[in-house]
């Protein structure tokens, strides 16, 4: 693949230049963004990573002190980079490259055409589509992506894992897909929920090929084994790095599952668990996690023909209902959404959803400032805005799912195409 598309090179160069330009023009911007609750959550904050790195390079367990909650595999990688405080450029360059790698994966996904037509289902309007470079540009120039990149949130690595799992799956490389998903799940637990639709995507892709795979059950067991082995391998390496296995597990996965840090973020958990009676805390932790997990089965069954769309929708759901969401999760959802350009004509509340998201984006920082710094507002100000943000995302989600169902329905009832329909 030596022939590099000139448009792609231009987009990538432009994205890299924009990031470096922002860094040069506003040297304080990365630190400002790193401190923002919308960008940095306790499990992805770059500041906390630096704390862990400091302890790690001095041969102290990075989890001592209870600040660092990220996977230990990041530490040796970041230990190679020069100190981000004195030399911000290498780190910024590293993060920009990660963004470009993500964009590259997006191009592969888009070029495979799996979004429009798969093994079991082919969309009616699949000719309405953007090419891979446009989708990459949409991702790279999305302000949320740029903010995440400059804020050096470590959730970009999870994004990379998920996107590479998808790109390998659509190109038929199911082994690498499972390894990538294992990597993403190792970094932050929730991608493990994508296993079932991703496995189905791999299966469909394999079935499209020359030889038919044995049976879906055997296929699932094989891939589950690969997935679990990859996680076990990564955990083994982490154990080798950190030493104390139980401390590492409770500081990272325990922290993500039990949500002890209720620092405000754009999600719905923190406010709810501040208000909740202590004795019901565990129960509602279960409810919230189950709520997150419950969508997997239903969506996968209903949209069996479009596993990639199921994954996209689930990523949107995670961006709303995850324990520590940030705008980086939303940017991942927005990156995959243009793959479904052919559904856009069927969507009904685009304007409302986009307005709600813009409204929340602009007012969120303002209300946070009023609450924390000016002292003239209270927690409800910021929480109300996060509700609007979640509302916007949910409307977008519901609308795309409706559009996908409508698409399927029109295919079964060709005479209804283009006519008004009512949901009953």
């Amino acid at each position: 693949m030596l022939v590099v598309d000139r448009r792609q090179a231009a987009v990538f160069a432009g994205a890299l230049a924009l990031r470096l330009l922002l860094l040069v023009l506003f040297p304080s911007l990365p630190d400002l963004l790193t401190g923002r609750v919308e960008v940095s959550t306790p499990i992805s904050s770059f500041k906390r990573l630096q704390e862990g790195l400091f302890l790690y390079t001095r041969n102290v367990s990075p989890y001592d002190g209870g600040v660092f909650h990220q996977a230990p595999l990041l530490l040796p990688v970041f230990a190679l980079l020069p100190n981000a405080r004195e030399f911000p450029l290498p780190t910024a360059l590293f993060y920009s490259l990660i963004d470009l790698i993500n964009a590259n994966a997006l191009i592969t996904i888009s070029d495979s055409g799996q979004a429009g037509s798969g093994r079991l289902f082919s969309a009616l309007r699949k000719h309405i589509r953007w090419d891979g470079v446009s989708i990459a540009a949409w991702f790279l120039f999305n302000p949320f992506t740029i903010a995440t990149c400059l804020g050096r949130s470590t959730s970009v690595f999870t994004t990379t894992g998920i996107l590479y799992a998808l790109s390998n799956a659509v190109s038929g490389n199911s082994l690498n897909a499972m390894l990538s998903l294992g990597f993403a799940s190792y970094l932050s637990i929730y991608p493990a929920l994508l296993f079932i639709p991703l496995m189905l995507l791999c299966y469909d892709r394999r079935a499209q090929g020359s030889r038919l795979p044995a049976g879906v059950a055997i296929f699932a067991v094989q891939h589950l084994a690969i997935f679990l082995l990859s996680i076990a391998g990564l955990l083994g390496i982490s154990c080798f790095i950190v030493g104390d296995f139980s401390q590492f597990i409770s500081a990272t996965y325990g922290f993500q599952l039990l949500v002890p840090d209720l620092t405000p973020n754009v999600g719905l958990w923190w406010y709810f668990f501040i208000e909740m009676f202590d004795s019901f805390r565990e129960f509602f932790l279960g409810v919230f996690w189950l709520h997150l997990a419950a969508y997997v089965g239903g969506l996968t069954v209903r949209l069996r023909g479009q596993p990639l769309f199921v994954i996209t929708s689930l990523l949107g759901i995670f961006a709303v209902f995850k324990p520590y969401p940030s705008i980086s999760d939303a940017s991942l959802y927005f990156a995959l959404l243009p793959l479904y350009r052919h559904l856009f004509p069927l969507m009904r509340y685009t304007f409302f959803a986009v307005s709600a998201l813009l409204y929340a984006t602009l007012l969120g920082p303002a209300f946070y400032h009023l609450w924390i710094y000016a002292g003239s507002g209270n927690a409800n100000f910021f929480y109300a805005i996060t509700l609007v943000w979640s509302l916007g995302l949910s409307i977008l989600l519901a609308d795309t799912i409706f559009a996908a169902l409508r698409d399927e329905w029109e295919q079964e009832n060709p005479e209804m195409r283009g006519k008004e329909a009512r949901q009953i």
């Binding site: 969508y295 799912i401 006519k419």
Partner: protein
Amino acid sequence: MTGKNEDPGSSQTTSMPANDTMSSKAGALLLPPPEKPEAIRTRFKVIAAFWAVIIFLGFPIWWKTTSIYRARLPIQDMVEWADGKSCRPVFPLEIHFETPSLPESEAHHLLRATQHTLDDLNEFSAHHLRLKLSGEGAVAGHDDMLEQPQPSLDGKADNALTVRLLPQENLAAPRSELHPDTIRLDVYYPPSQIPPPSASNPPLSAYIAGELQNLFTEEKAIIAQVLSDSSVGGTNPLAPSSANNQQQPSVVLNSISPQLAESITRRLRRSMKYAETYHLAFSLFTPGSEPASWDVQTAVEEYISPLLQAFTPISNFTVDTQVQLYATSAPTAPLPEYDETQAAWTLKKEDLSAFINAAEWPLSPSIGNGPTINFILYVPAPSQSPMVVKESSATGWIIPQWGGVFLLNPPLSTADYPSNPPHLSQETLRPAFLTFSHQLLTLLGAPASPASLPFRLQTLIRVRAATLLLSASSTMGSLARLTESLPSIPIPANVATSVSTTLSHLTSTCEHLREGRFQAALADARVAEAEAERSFFEKSMVGQVYFPDEHKVAVYLPLLGPIGVPLIVGLLKEVKRVITSLKAKKQQT
């Protein structure tokens, strides 16, 4: 919000393609196209997927996280202890007689006669004296027994008092003498008063009985007071009055003199509440810059430590000291006045309560988990020296349940203008620390009489054992009532363990008391009290105290209601469809 977000899920269940109606151009209502079988199957699967998560994951989580763990407590036993049905504290005191100069048979006779007289005098059966002729082997041991006797490990009762009968010529009547540093009472008698074996009530035995009765009057009164304060003991009407002629503690209280009763209640009010550990804080306060140092360590070691050592069976102690210079009295405190007749600056007795500048002097109310007893050594400014209390010329006083104060007036230097010495030597501190040790005894609740310190400590051991027994029992009762009245609070397993430890130690306390082993009884009672307090103040129990069941609706409904409604409606529709299709099938066949 969540209801809204349920949309993706519910829209799948309700917006089945074939379910959608469509309004025609003319507005006429068409029947929706018939559902395809695979669409019905898909819908069934979707609903099943959601309900599978709820049933197989949701319900176990709900059950696991909201069930309240209530360890089983022996409620009946606890209530019985609180009501005093399980144990009637008795205090059989063993008194040893040493009669080196009497033949054994005569000694036996004298003993029996004295015991008889004592039993006649005693009207409080819970507290009684048992006389015993000590064996020859024990005599040597008792002679050099200075502080308290060691806890009897071999199951023998503690020796409360040793009475030694010594013949002495030239005596008209017997006289007695209590050794101040042992628990020995020497009785000197004229040899002529040895009772003949035939005499029924010899004067010597009557004298000894009277002496013993006097020695123990105060202790008896205190114990009667303690027993009657808590309803345990004899006053409880439900308590089994199995004792043949058991008299109520109130009878004893009525029989003692009003002055004694008054002094007992005053002392009980003054003394600190019992604690496992006390912190002693010795503070040197002076309004100027001198004295800036004091030999407090040697002084404490010399005057206080032996006392603390003697108290080890009762409580533990920690000692802190501090020096505070330029410690001015509160601006509202009345100033001392110069009294010509006493040639001293005087404080009025009613102003003493304002002497401590509580706002500015760093006297922490408690360090760690025990109460602090403060001892304040105040060295007045040279311009106001010497300083005494106006009415009594005393230099020290007690602050009830708080500590003691001593005004130290060291000799002023005779320079141009007088100043305090920069350093207080141990010799200078001696009167202050002797006063402090005396105040400490009072604050810890030791009785004022008689003169023998070991004797008073033994009394204190018995009183403390009784107090702790009653307090732990009543804590058990409160805990039992609390758990009965609040069925929704959790009872962790460690509370049940603490309760059973408490009950077993209470039982052994009671047993030790009955056998007269008071030191062992106190040791057990201390454990029982500590465990009882721990179980009652268990943190995880009180979290949910004020949480009535109605509140659960408010907890569950706002979130689970919106989520649950579409799920339940979907389930009901599906069930209805299955039933109708089954019926249709039946009709066909």
